[in-house]
Subunit: 542 residues, 2 copies
C-alpha cells in the first residue's frame, strides 16, 4: 500500500505543528521523507491578534492563513482525530464524507495539538454558558453575541433584563482575559455610537481575577498600569476572586456575589487535549505531555511533543511556557533532533531565552517587557506590539492584507454585523443554581427539558390561592411536555431546588421526534395523562 | 403604554423594507410617526454581489450593511417574527433572551419579507441535502462546503468517492444559478493551484436547466453566449431537465440519470414566506401576497406589501418581477401612498420601466441588456455590471471598502479558509432513494436513525453464506442503536426499499439522552434485547 519513504505525522496545525513541518521540509527531501500534518481546520490561527477581530479592527480572515499556502509540500489531512494507537504506530482519522476511518501509519509522531477548552465535566455551568476565547470561531461567536445582546437591550423595556443584557463579565486577567476586556470595552463604545438608545452609563464590564494584580506574567508596575487603564475605560475590577459558576441568568463569584449577566467570558486555564487524554501510555504532568529536554516523549523514542501540549523541562529548572514564541523555537529543535536521530548524531536539548512579552490593551495602548528588564507602556508599546506581531504573521499576502485592513480601519468605521452561519437549533445543555427559575407559568413554551442532575419543583399559581408546589422531579425525569404538545403557554412554573443540569430539546425537534417515533409518543402520552390527573387531584384537594 | 404617534411597522430588511423606511423618514417627522423595522439579521444583504463572496473576490462583510447605519432614525427590532394578528393589528416577535413575546401594535403594516427557501415539505431530499443560495449565510456555507469536499478529495483513495467529492451539480440556470455556476468554476480553478494533488480533469460541474437556453430573463442570443462561455469554463450543461431528487449520494435528474455528487446547489424558485403563509386572511396568488396597483394588500387599507413577497399588477397586464430594481421603486410609491392616505390625497398606482438587466459570469465576464434593446457581453459588460451595482451599494463606507477589496484582489491571492462558526452537531434530516445504502456492516457507528417515511431492510452478511434480509422496518421505527450503545462498528447493513426520510441523531447526543432519560433507556434496552434474540434465532434457522 504505502511507498517506502519514512513518514513523519504531525498532529496539530498551530505554531508548533506548522513550524515543525516547515523546518522538516528544509532538512529532508520529499523523496526521503513524507511529512503529513493533521488538523481540524484547514488554516493556522494567528492567536496573538485574535482579539482585534472582536471590534472588527481586523477582518474575519485576517488572523488566519490557509495551511495549503503555508505548507505546499506537506500532505495535509483536514480531519478530526479519532484515536492514536501508539503500540501499532497508527493514527485514526474521521472523514465526514465516509463511514470508515482514514488510517495513517507513521515512523515518527509529533504531538502539537495544543490544549483544549472543551470541558469534559459539566459541573459549574462554565461549559454550558460561558463564552470561550481560543480560536477564530470563538471570536466570531463572541462578537455576534455582543452585538445580539446590545441589539436586544435597545428594545428591551424590562429594566432587570435590560441591565443583564448590558452587563459583561470576563473571568481571568492573564494575557487573554486582559486583552479581551480591553477590546470588548472599545467595541461597546463603538456600538454606542450606532445604537443611540443605549446610554454609556448602562454598560457594565467586570474583570474577575484571582490575584491582587492583573497580568501576572509581567512585573507588578505594568500590571498596575494596565489596571488603571482598564478602570479608565470603565472596567470594574473584581480582585482576589474567581467566577465560580455560570447560569443562564448569573455569573456567581467565589465570594457568593451574583452578577446578573447574559455574557460571561471565561479565559480559564485549559486542559489536556481530549485525544491525548484518551491515548493510553502517554506520560502526563500538569495536564501536559511529559517530554525529555530533547522533546522526545518520555518512554518513546519515536514520539515527540511540543507547544502548549508539552511539558518541556528547561535547563534552569523551569518548564517551557505555552507561548507562540517558544513553540516556534521548539519546532526548530524538534526537527533538527529528528534529523540527528536518522543520521545517528546525538540529540540536543531545547534551550531558548525569550525576547520579551507584550499585551495589547485595546485601542492604541499596550504594556510589555523586553529582554526581561525594559518596561514599556502606552502608545509606543502598542505600535511595537503591532509591528512585532505583524512581522511574525505567516505569508507575505496575509501581511499585506492586514496592513491594508489597518490603514482602512483608520478611515472607515466598521459595521456591527452579526455573522450567522448556522441557524439550526441544537440540543442545549443548561446549568442552574438553587432557586433559579427555568420558566414561569404563562411563558412561551420553547423546549422540553430532561434533568441530568439535581432537582426541580413544579409550582402552580392558583387564582386567589397563591403558589403551591405540585411535584418535585429529579435526575432522569423530564418536564415541559404539556405546553409543547398542546401548543399553549407554560401551565406551571419550574424552579431549581439545588444545582441542576438540564438538557433542553427545542420544540420543533421534539415534535418531529415525537410524531415519528411511535413508542416515544405512546410513552409521553401515558406520562402526560398521569400528570394531568395528578394536577386535577391537587386542585380538588387544595 | 404607547405614545400618541402613529406607528408604521415594516416587516423585512431587504431592499423593499429598507427603502420604504428611508422614504418614510423623508416624508414624516419623528414626532408624527414612529417607524419600526423588524428583521431577523441586523444587516441588509446586497444580494446582487453575493456570488463574489464564494471565491473571496469580496470579503465576508462586504456585501452587507448594518441596518443601524442605514436607518439611524428607525426603531429596529432584530427578532424573529412569531405571528401576525391582522384583526388586532399586532405583530408578535420572539426574543432569544426572554420567554415572553415582544408585541408591536401598528397603524400601518408593510410586508416586505421577501420569499422563503425554507422548504416545508420534505419530499425529494432537496430540503435535506441541497445547498441553497439566498443569503450571506448560505454563501459562506457553500464556500466552506466546496473547500471541505476539495480537501477531503485530496487525500481520498477510493476512486468513486473521490469522483463524487469533485462533482458539483447546480439546479436551475436563471440569474442566480448561472452566476453561481460561473463563480464555482472560477473558485475551483483557484483551489486547483492551492492543492496540486487534484487534477483539473477530475473536476465535473453540471448545470441543470428545464429550458433549452439558460438565462431566460434575457434574449436567446445572450443566453447562448453565456452557455458557450460556461462550456469553455468546463461546465456540462444538462438542458431540458430538472434536479428531481437529492440524496446523500446522488443528484437524481428528471430523465432518471443519477449523478454521484456530494455538492448539489438548488436555486429553485422560492415559496411564500412561512410567517405570511401562516397568517390568516392574507390573499395569496402565485405564492405571493396579492396587492392592488397602489400596493395595498387586497381587502385591507392599512396593510401594504412590496418586493419579492408581493404580487403587484402593472398597467401592462404583467406583474412586477422580484428584483431589487423594482423593490426600490415600489418602496418609493408605497411611502408616498401612505403619506397620501394620511393627508387624504388619492393613492397612485405603481409604475416603472426597468433600465436593464445584467448577469455576471464569473471572472471578468458578464452579459446583459439595457433599455430593452442594447445587448452587451464580455469584459465591457462585466465592468458595467460592477460599476452599476457598486454605485447602488448602500452607504459610502461600504462603497469604499468594496473598492479597496477589489483593488487588493487584483494583487493578493485569496486563501481558501473554511470559516466554521458552529461546530455543534445537530439532528440531521436525510432523504434516500430506493436501493441506496444508509450504512454498511463494519462501518463506523455515528448516528441513531428514526424512520419518518419509507421502509428499510436490515441486511446481515454471514461468512460463506452471503447476505440475508433479517428484518424490515417502516415509519416510526428506529435502527442503529446496537452499535452505538455497545461502541462497536455496525453489525448489519441498512438499505432503503423505497424513497425514505430519516432523522439521524448524533451518537454523543443520543448517549447523553439515553443515559439521562431513564424511561428511554429502559425502553431501548428492551427493544435491543428483542432484536438480538431475533438475530440469534435467524442465525440458527438459516
Amino acid at each position: 500500500m504505502r511507498d517506502k519513504r519514512r513518514r513523519i505525522v504531525i498532529l496539530g496545525g498551530g505554531f508548533g505543528g506548522v513550524y515543525t513541518a516547515k523546518y522538516l521540509h528544509s532538512l529532508f527531501s520529499s523523496e526521503e521523507v513524507e511529512i503529513c500534518l493533521v488538523n481540524r481546520d484547514n488554516y493556522m490561527t494567528f492567536q496573538p491578534m485574535l482579539a482585534e477581530v472582536i471590534g472588527d479592527a481586523l477582518g474575519v480572515y485576517d488572523t488566519v492563513s490557509a495551511l495549503s499556502s503555508l505548507l505546499p509540500k506537506t500532505s495535509l489531512y483536514i480531519n478530526e482525530i479519532e484515536k492514536i494507537d501508539l503500540d501499532n504506530k497508527k493514527v485514526f482519522l474521521i472523514c465526514p464524507f465516509k463511514k470508515q476511518h482514514i488510517v495513517l501509519e507513521y515512523n515518527e509522531l509529533v504531538l502539537a495539538l495544543g490544549n483544549s477548552t472543551d470541558f469534559i465535566h459539566l459541573h459549574n455551568g462554565v461549559a454550558q454558558h460561558a463564552l470561550r476565547f481560543k480560536n477564530l470561531s470563538d471570536t466570531l461567536i463572541l462578537r455576534n453575541h455582543i452585538i445580539n445582546v446590545f441589539q436586544a437591550a435597545s428594545t428591551e423595556t424590562n429594566p432587570q433584563l435590560r441591565q443583564a443584557l448590558l452587563t459583561f463579565v470576563i473571568g481571568g486577567a492573564g494575557f487573554t482575559g486582559t486583552e479581551v476586556a480591553a477590546e470588548v470595552c472599545d467595541f461597546l463604545n463603538k456600538m454606542l455610537k450606532k445604537i443611540p438608545s443605549i446610554k454609556k452609563e448602562e454598560l457594565r464590564v467586570f474583570l474577575v481575577h484571582s490575584k491582587d494584580i492583573i497580568l501576572n506574567e509581567l512585573s507588578p508596575s505594568l500590571g498596575r498600569y494596565a489596571m488603571e487603564l482598564l478602570r479608565k475605560k470603565g472596567v470594574t475590577l473584581k480582585m482576589g476572586m474567581k467566577v465560580e459558576a455560570v447560569t443562564p441568568h448569573h455569573a456567581v463569584l467565589s465570594n457568593h456575589e451574583k452578577i446578573a449577566s447574559k455574557t460571561v467570558i471565561s479565559t480559564a486555564p485549559a486542559n489536556l487535549n481530549l485525544v491525548l487524554a484518551a491515548t493510553k501510555g502517554l506520560p502526563v504532568s500538569h495536564d501536559r505531555i511529559k517530554t525529555l529536554p530533547n522533546l522526545q516523549v518520555e518512554g518513546y523514542d519515536h514520539v515527540w511533543a511540543l507547544g502548549d501540549a508539552a511539558h518541556i523541562p528547561l535547563s534552569n529548572g523551569h518548564f517551557a511556557p505555552p507561548t507562540a514564541q517558544f513553540a516556534v523555537r521548539e519546532a526548530n529543535t524538534l526537527a533538527k533532533n529528528i534529523a540527528a536521530k536518522y543520521s545517528q548524531r546525538p540529540l540536543k536539548p531545547f534551550q531558548f531565552k525569550p525576547l520579551g512579552l507584550l499585551a495589547a490593551l485595546g485601542h492604541r495602548k499596550a504594556v510589555g517587557e523586553l529582554f526581561g528588564f525594559i518596561k514599556i507602556s502606552g502608545f509606543l508599546a502598542w505600535i511595537m506590539w503591532r509591528a512585532i506581531y505583524w512581522s511574525k504573521m505567516p505569508g507575505l499576502s496575509r501581511k499585506l492584507k492586514v496592513l491594508f485592513t489597518w490603514i482602512l480601519d483608520l478611515f472607515i468605521p466598521s459595521e456591527p454585523v452579526v455573522l450567522n452561519i448556522n441557524s439550526r437549533k441544537v440540543m442545549h445543555h443548561l446549568h442552574y443554581k438553587a432557586s433559579e427559575m427555568v420558566f414561569d407559568q404563562g411563558d412561551l413554551a420553547d423546549f422540553l427539558y430532561i434533568i441530568l442532575k439535581g432537582r426541580v419543583a413544579i409550582i402552580k399559581k392558583f387564582q386567589n390561592e397563591g403558589e403551591k408546589i405540585i411535584k418535585e422531579l429529579a435526575a432522569g425525569n423530564f418536564f415541559g411536555e404539556i405546553a409543547l404538545t398542546k401548543d399553549i403557554t407554560r401551565t406551571a412554573k419550574v424552579v431549581c431546588l439545588e444545582s441542576t443540569d438540564l438538557i433542553a430539546i427545542p420544540k420543533d425537534e421534539f415534535l418531529v421526534m415525537k410524531d415519528s417515533f411511535l413508542e416515544l409518543d405512546t410513552f409521553l402520552t401515558a406520562v402526560q395523562a398521569e400528570r394531568l390527573e395528578e394536577l386535577n387531584k391537587f386542585k380538588k384537594s387544595s
